[in-house]
């Protein structure tokens, strides 16, 4: 397997301009002769489908939700970064580029990140023009706030619902194209296999989630924008339906899977209350603009109500350890610091796995009205879930699985190692390295969808003869379809005793315990023993109700869990092989004297991309060296 990143030559500031000029174009009259499939309708998929249809390509878009408006991008709360420098505080494309590479602990590709920073400003322009109601100042201009890992205010926001508003902007652009007949939308359709003909991606097989029909769709190119695999931990901030099936099936058809161990644990989520828990809810990072994180200095105080712990007995540990970034330290660092405090026995709440996020000082300084204006909906959401009023008592928070930086390997054109298969947004690996900064996921999803793929897809399609698409009754297509039906029948034939969720929970426990915030060689080896055992039990003891030819939510879950049981194993294998700590990947064997991640640039300054070698065979680890030409490879310091 060859990993050719196709990074253009020249100075970093000019690479994208040069590349856009060098890419071949498809003539306007020929565009309608090409069909592109977009799987997923979130920020990346929705934006891509709409933008490519506007260009004139024939587009089909698929989502498992009942409407493209419900993709999980909608749940992003805090904001979206852009290097507008509207606030004159020293921001620039270069600074956003630098912050993102540094935030990712120097494990991302420089050229991709620079392009991301360059197009960030176009995204804000585009969204405002669509009618996205961003927060504004009294003069009518756009407001900004700060997010972790940055010392400038560059985050644009729409209350605590930025993802919702950006997604609705993309959704409306998409619906416009659907209304014009330029995009055919397939809601309640789940992609279950990639069709590959002679090594080239030519279509997908889907299951219609209402009728159960297994159907093939052929095209000239396929774009996966299916999000991350964070639900491998069972409990996460992802939606219940979020899954890794599309990217996993592509991996098993030859797409390299890069850095699966780079998974982000978000520091501020509502803590687990019991075994019944089905998902975890994020409390936006933006709250750290005005909230202060603390635990009691002494273990003995942990049982007391927060109000009875005087100021001098509180440990504002982020402010103490990272004075220059304070409560806005990056996510990986903040999460580990919370774990450390709880490991020391200083955690709060019934389970002892929690820390306070306290707004008392800000309410005193700014008044409750101001805090309500900024975060009202988040405070309400917190109260609904916990039955506690965060204006009166501090929030209790704890880290939870949130985002996956790893994903399918892509080159500079966002094409995977399978020609014709493009991967966008969280589903790819390219921009966030080993840790993503807050408010950068929305930026990347929309950058890929609005401003990268519309250019790069043309470069690929221009090399294909118009009208050379394979037919839907091609033997390869039929064989792929049959393999999907075969897998569904296999799931029904087990007739065991346990529910799909049972296996998912079991997997989640192993993943969180051994491959969560702290990883060790022994723990990862243990996980690599346990996961195949759970998988074995799954294939012998799963029970599915009903039939495949109807609405069957248990079948949908079972298919996704079957893939998570394999993804989890690759994740642990990657974590075991990356013998360093970097960003969110924390190997306890590699840490500095004061508990910070210790990178090994000599041996691991690379992307690890895994190649599937068949069931029962070990996958092969390839590497793409990362070179830092524009930035100096430095140790991260947020102190």
């Amino acid at each position: 397997m060859e990993l050719n990143s196709r990074i253009p030559d020249g100075p970093i500031e000019n690479k994208w301009e040069k590349h856009k000029f060098d890419l071949k174009l498809v003539n306007p009259a020929n565009k309608r002769k090409y069909k592109v499939l977009v799987v997923g309708s979130g920020l990346a998929g929705g934006a891509a489908a709409a933008s490519m249809a506007e260009l004139g390509y024939e587009v089909e878009c698929f989502c498992y939700q009942d409407s493209p408006r419900r993709a999980h991008s909608i749940a992003a709360q805090g904001g979206i970064n852009a290097a507008k420098n509207y606030h004159n505080d020293g921001d620039s494309v270069r600074r956003l580029f630098y912050d993102t590479v540094k935030g990712g602990d120097f494990r991302a590709r420089e050229a991709n990140v620079h392009r991301l920073a360059e197009v960030s400003n176009n995204i804000i322009d585009q969204c405002v023009a669509q009618g996205v109601p961003f927060a504004r100042e009294y003069g009518g201009l756009l407001d900004n706030r700060s997010f972790g890992g940055a010392q400038v205010s560059r985050t644009f926001y729409a209350r605590g619902q930025t993802g919702q508003q950006l997604l609705l902007g993309a959704y409306q652009a998409l619906e416009r194209q659907i209304g014009l007949g330029a995009v055919k939308m397939f809601p309640r359709h789940e992609m279950l296999e990639l069709i590959v003909v002679d090594g080239v991606a030519k279509g997908i097989v889907t299951r219609n989630m209402v009728t159960g029909a297994v159907e093939s769709h052929v095209a000239d190119a396929v774009c996966l924008a299916t999000g991350g695999y964070g639900n491998v931990f069972y409990l996460s901030t992802n939606a219940k339906g979020c899954n890794g099936t599309a990217i996993w099936r592509a991996y098993k058809k030859g797409a390299a899977f890069a850095n699966p161990c780079f998974t982000q644990i978000h520091p501020t989520c509502i803590p687990v209350t019991g075994d019944h828990q089905s998902k975890l809810t994020l409390m936006s990072e933006s709250l750290r603009n005005d909230g202060r994180i603390w635990v009691p200095k002494r273990k003995e105080d942990c049982g007391k109500p927060a109000s009875q712990i005087p100021e001098e007995d509180r440990d504002y540990y982020l402010e103490r350890k990272y004075p220059s970034y304070g409560n806005l330290a990056p996510r990986d660092i903040s999460s580990r610091a919370a774990k450390q405090a709880c490991d020391e026995g200083r955690g709060i709440g019934a389970t002892g796995r929690g820390v306070y996020l306290d707004f008392e000082a800000s309410i005193k300084r700014l008044g409750q009205n101001k805090i309500e204006e900024r975060y009202g909906n988040l405070f309400e959401m917190y109260e609904r879930i916990t039955d506690e009023n965060p204006y009166k008592t501090p929030m209790r928070i704890y880290p939870a699985s949130h985002y996956t930086m790893g994903g399918l390997w892509v080159d500079y054109n966002l094409m995977s190692t399978i020609p014709g298969l493009f991967v966008l947004g969280e589903a790819n690996f390219s921009d966030h390295g080993a840790n993503r900064l807050g408010a950068s996921a929305l930026m990347q999803g929309l950058a890929d969808g609005y401003f990268v793929i519309p250019y790069t897809i043309g470069g690929y399609l221009a090399s294909i003869k118009p009208g050379s698409r394979i037919k839907v009754d091609d033997p390869v297509v039929k064989a792929t379809e049959q393999s999907v039906s075969g897998q569904i029948n296999r799931l029904f034939s087990i007739q065991g005793k346990q529910t799909p969720d049972y296996f998912h929970r079991e997997l989640g426990k192993v993943m969180w315990e051994y491959s969560g915030m702290g990883r060790t060689e022994a723990g990862l080896k243990k996980a690599l023993e346990l996961i195949p055992q759970i998988r074995e039990e799954f294939w012998h003891n799963l029970r599915l109700p009903g039939a495949g030819e109807e609405v069957n939510q248990a079948l949908e879950t079972a298919g996704r869990v079957a893939d998570f049981l394999e993804i989890g194993e690759l994740l642990c294998l990657d974590a075991l092989n990356r013998r360093e700590s970097c960003g969110a990947h924390f190997r306890e064997e590699w840490q500095t004297g004061d508990g910070e991640a210790l990178r090994d640039d000599e041996n691991f300054c690379h992307v690890a991309a895994w190649e599937y070698k068949g069931d029962g065979n070990a996958p092969v680890r390839h590497t793409e060296a990362l070179s830092f030409e524009s930035l100096h490879l430095a140790t991260r310091n947020y102190k």
Binding site: I124, G131, R136, Q172, M185, S278
Partner: protein, 262 residues
């Protein structure tokens, strides 16, 4: 730790759009008050699967009140008893031990039942496709700060834009009207300068689509506002009606454009 609850569920079961449905009774036992409503249903469903019975089908996804997927009528109220709260954010502490709970799908001509509590809300997407957008192809935007927008207008637009498209307003309305949903989008875009060029064609096209989808008409009952989990106000309907009347009075059929020189 508060006491666990034992409840009786009366659930609408319907195999598909063409079959008749009926209520079936299920016990929900040993339910923690800290559970969400959907987690309670998860437990009931896992029990049903283990017994070899068909679990209750219901739509859900983000489980944090923003995606708008969850949709059921609980004891006669869309999204249940708690104001401004989606079903997924409803917690069992809102119920008493021994209580009976009735679960039904959204009921509206325009929302056919697909199975049990799951309905097809594609009609709402088609209303947006008819005009709920600003026609701005990617790449054609000016600088975001080139056009200041009064903060008050931006806030009012955001209030309207908070709609999650769940359809509770339709389910609550005695006429099954989609006016609150439609007016929220019309209002958002009418309040912003970017929405002005298409302001009057938008409202006409969206209303025409709503009528084609067999939603009922609005007779100002106000049930929609009470049921809305996001606090969308009826003032949006008033704003929309103003635009719609003006649009109807000033409507001129589009004239086909010429070919241009060259």
């Amino acid at each position: 730790m508060s006491k666990h609850l034992n409840l009786t569920l009366h659930v609408w079961r319907q195999k598909n759009a063409t079959c008749d449905g009926k209520f079936v009774e299920y016990p929900a036992e040993n339910i923690s008050p800290d559970m969400s409503f959907l987690e309670m249903l998860d437990i009931v469903n896992e029990g049903l699967i283990r017994k070899g019975e068909d679990p209750i089908t219901f739509d859900h996804d983000c489980r944090e009140g923003i995606c708008g997927t969850c949709s059921m009528v609980i004891n006669g109220r869309p999204h249940g008893p708690k104001e401004r709260t989606t079903t997924c954010q409803l917690h069992m502490r809102s119920f008493k031990d021994g209580e009976s709970i009735t679960l039904e799908p959204w009921r509206a001509e325009a929302f056919p039942v697909l199975k049990d509590l799951m309905v097809d809300r594609g009609a709402l997407d088609r209303i947006i496709a008819a005009g709920g957008f600003v026609s701005v192809p990617t790449g054609s935007a000016q600088d975001a700060n080139a056009l200041p927008i009064p903060k008050e207008n931006a806030e009012l637009a955001m209030d309207a834009a908070a709609c999650i498209g769940c359809g509770a307003c339709v389910a609550a309305c005695p006429n099954a009207s989609a006016m609150l949903f439609l007016s929220a989008k019309v209002s958002q875009l009418s309040l912003l300068p970017q929405g002005q060029p298409e302001r009057y064609t938008r409202v006409r096209d969206m209303v025409a689509q709503m009528d084609a989808e067999e939603f009922g008409t609005c007779t100002n009952h106000g049930e929609c506002e009470i049921a809305c989990p996001k606090g969308i106000k009826m003032e949006n309907i008033a704003r929309m009606n103003r635009d719609f009347i003006k649009a109807s009075l000033t409507y001129r059929p589009a004239v086909a454009g010429g070919g241009g020189a060259g």
